[in-house]
């Protein structure tokens, strides 16, 4: 990771696969998960209606649709998360996915475990509050209250755990992420630098700026390549840099692009060489730091 850590956009979770390189995935927002759940419930209801219609049309035994209803209600999520690599139709619609926290593939046990709790989380509150005798076998109002309170605690787990895990996620050791977005590879900024036109910079000149400024320079150079800058801007930036590093020469004023490209290439080489020795310079205000090379993987 570069020294200036990219600002944390959404909360993320770090997974370490067996190859021991840390990967970061964005956590799925709780609201998206609720919507996906409702979509899945809607699909289950539609499937149940279809099953019912088919059963009546074919005059099938009641047993057939009772069993199919049971399978749909309890194994819909398990089936899809198992065969569709951690997604269900509802989750797919919202770009969500279930992954295992231990970095390996999602196992059947994890999928079954995380879906067993759904009955309790969704139907539990209803049962505990409306029909406690199903659970307790007798009327006991304080037990009802305790049961209701407990199911509310369980239902609120996604908001209180660090990784937005609901009770089922805790049992299965899983977490729900948003699918990572595809990022296209930007052009290599130094590609347009012709070697014979590069300028020479002294070591002192290259030890002024740090990684932050380099990043800003790259942004500017991308704008140049896209044709979004004027000659005045380019000259302004080039002369500012030349003044700061004490560069004596006319290139910043006359051929700012050539100056900027050379400077970028030279500065980046210098800073990257420092990286190999474990030295990092975050910005022009920071002193050069000897950090451990293994910091933050």
């Amino acid at each position: 990771m570069t020294a200036k850590a990219s600002p944390k956009k959404s909360a993320g979770v770090d997974i370490v696969p067996p190859e021991a390189v840390r990967l970061r995935f964005p956590l799925a927002p709780v609201l998206s998960r609720m919507v996906a759940f409702f979509v899945d419930c809607g699909i289950i209801v539609i499937l149940m209606v279809l099953v019912l219609m088919l059963a009546f049309a074919l005059r099938a035994l009641t047993a057939v649709w009772v069993v199919l209803f049971f399978v749909l209600q309890h194994f819909y999520f398990t089936f899809f998360e198992w065969t569709w690599n951690g997604t269900t139709p509802g989750k797919r619609a919202l770009g969500l996915r279930v992954i295992s926290l231990d970095g390996g593939a999602l196992s059947l046990e994890a999928v079954v475990a995380r879906n067993l709790m759904r009955d309790v989380e969704v139907f539990g509150p209803g049962v505990a509050l409306l029909a406690p005798e199903v659970l307790l076998g007798s009327d006991a109002s304080w037990l009802t209250a305790a049961g209701g309170l407990w199911t509310i605690v369980i239902a609120l787990l996604p908001l209180t755990t660090a990784k937005h895990q609901r009770a089922g996620d805790l049992l299965g050791g899983t977490v729900v992420i948003s699918d990572p977005v595809r990022i296209p590879l930007a052009d290599e900024v130094t590609a347009r630098t012709q070697p014979e036109l590069t300028l020479h910079f002294s070591r002192e000149a290259l030890s002024i700026y740090g990684e932050e400024e380099l990043e800003a320079l790259v942004e500017f150079m991308r704008q140049i390549d896209a044709g979004q800058t004027t000659f005045i801007d380019q000259r302004h930036i080039a002369t500012t840099i030349a003044k700061k590093i004490g560069y004596a020469g006319t290139e910043p004023h006359e051929a700012p692009i050539r100056f900027l490209r050379s400077f970028y290439r030279a500065q980046r080489s210098a800073l990257e060489e420092g990286l190999l020795y474990g030295e990092r310079k975050a910005s022009k205000f920071a002193a050069k730091r000897r950090g451990s090379a293994g910091r933050k993987g």
Binding site: L23, E81, W82, L108, L276
Partner: protein, 334 residues
């Protein structure tokens, strides 16, 4: 520049991996040709190592972000859910489940003990005062089988058959109902195991009251013939699910040297296969209870099936998954 060279040499591989990963994430691994399937893990590992190197040696942030995204997506593509063959699944249920249950002896013992205590308590109370019966057995379940019924009514209740079509429906609704309760017994273990314990206890109460009622009229033997053939898999499944629930409860309350989240994750995955096998047991129980019991009215046949069920259930739990001693010896030999 070194890092520019680094990127130039690998760009083609990354582009190829990107297109493969796109296809896999949309449609699954089937969309890749055999040659691509062979290449995928190599490219994936290559990207991960490039990412690791790029994080430490390059200041091209755009490159690092690109590699992070590519690595994350390839991980999702490569580590798809493990699809085991059907044979492996059966083997898991037959061998792995009893093995795990044997490691959960404490929870099993608690589950059996709680149920047993329920039976004993109900038995004692109902034999002292039959009025307790109505406390323990829900009227819907009892029907007209309560202390006010005559012995003849109770006896005939054990031998009534049912219409043919109705039997299968009866079986399936029993299966759905009982499995729902068993799954709940396991899932409720999350609440520190207390609702699970209560569920097991009330189950035991109901059983004890019922047993006592029939025993007091001298009908215990026929009743057990009526109850045990399906009761062994059914009550067995509820006890097993209760054990899993208690195991999860213990992970919540006493996670040991792990954090609660980690302990729960391990306990959850350990117990879920067991719950899955209980669904199978309850399907069997539903068939026996719904069909066999209504059709076969002879006590001796019923007892034979009960004995058979008890035998394989007990043997499965105690011997399932144990390796033969000679096989173990072979493993030690280099």
């Amino acid at each position: 520049m070194r890092t520019v060279e680094f990127r130039r040499r690998r760009e083609a591989d990354w582009a190829r991996l990107e297109s493969m990963v796109d296809r896999v994430l949309k449609r699954g691994l089937n969309r890749l040709s055999d040659a691509e399937l062979e290449e995928l893990p190599r490219l994936y590992r290559g990207v991960l190592s490039s990412l690791s190197v790029a994080r430490k040696t390059t200041l091209d942030r755009a490159l690092v972000q690109y590699l992070e995204a590519l690595a994350a997506r390839s991980y999702l593509a490569v580590y798809a859910a493990r699809r085991s063959r059907t044979g492996d699944l059966w083997r898991a249920l037959f061998e792995e489940v009893p093995r795990r249950l044997r490691t959960m002896k404490v929870d099993l013992a608690m589950s059996i003990a709680i149920t047993g205590v329920g039976v004993i308590v109900a038995w004692t109370l109902v034999s002292a005062d039959p009025g307790w019966y109505f406390m323990f057995v829900a009227p819907g379940l009892a029907g007209d089988r309560d202390p006010s019924a005559s012995t003849e009514v109770l006896r005939t209740a054990l031998y009534e058959g049912g219409g043919e079509a109705g039997l299968v429906n009866f079986a399936s609704s029993l299966f759905a109902h009982n499995t729902g309760i068993a799954l709940l017994a396991a899932a409720l273990g999350f609440a520190a195991g207390i609702p699970t314990a209560l569920l097991l206890f009330t189950n035991g109460l109901m059983l004890g009251a019922f047993l006592q009622l029939y025993a007091s009229r001298g009908l215990l033997f026929p009743l057990l013939g009526w109850l045990l053939p399906h009761g062994i898999p059914e009550i067995g499944a509820i006890v097993l699910c209760g054990a899993v629930g208690l195991h999860w409860g213990r992970a919540v309350v006493a996670p040991g040297r792990f954090t609660t989240a980690v302990a729960l994750g391990q306990a959850g995955r350990r117990g879920s296969l067991i719950v899955l096998s209980c669904v199978g047991l309850l399907a069997l129980a539903g068939v026996i209870e719904g069909i066999f019991r209504q059709v076969v009215l002879d006590d001796r046949v019923r007892w034979a099936l009960a004995a058979f069920n008890g035998a394989w259930f007990f043997l499965w739990l105690s011997l399932g998954g144990r390796r033969a001693p000679s096989a173990r010896r072979d493993k030690v030999r280099p």
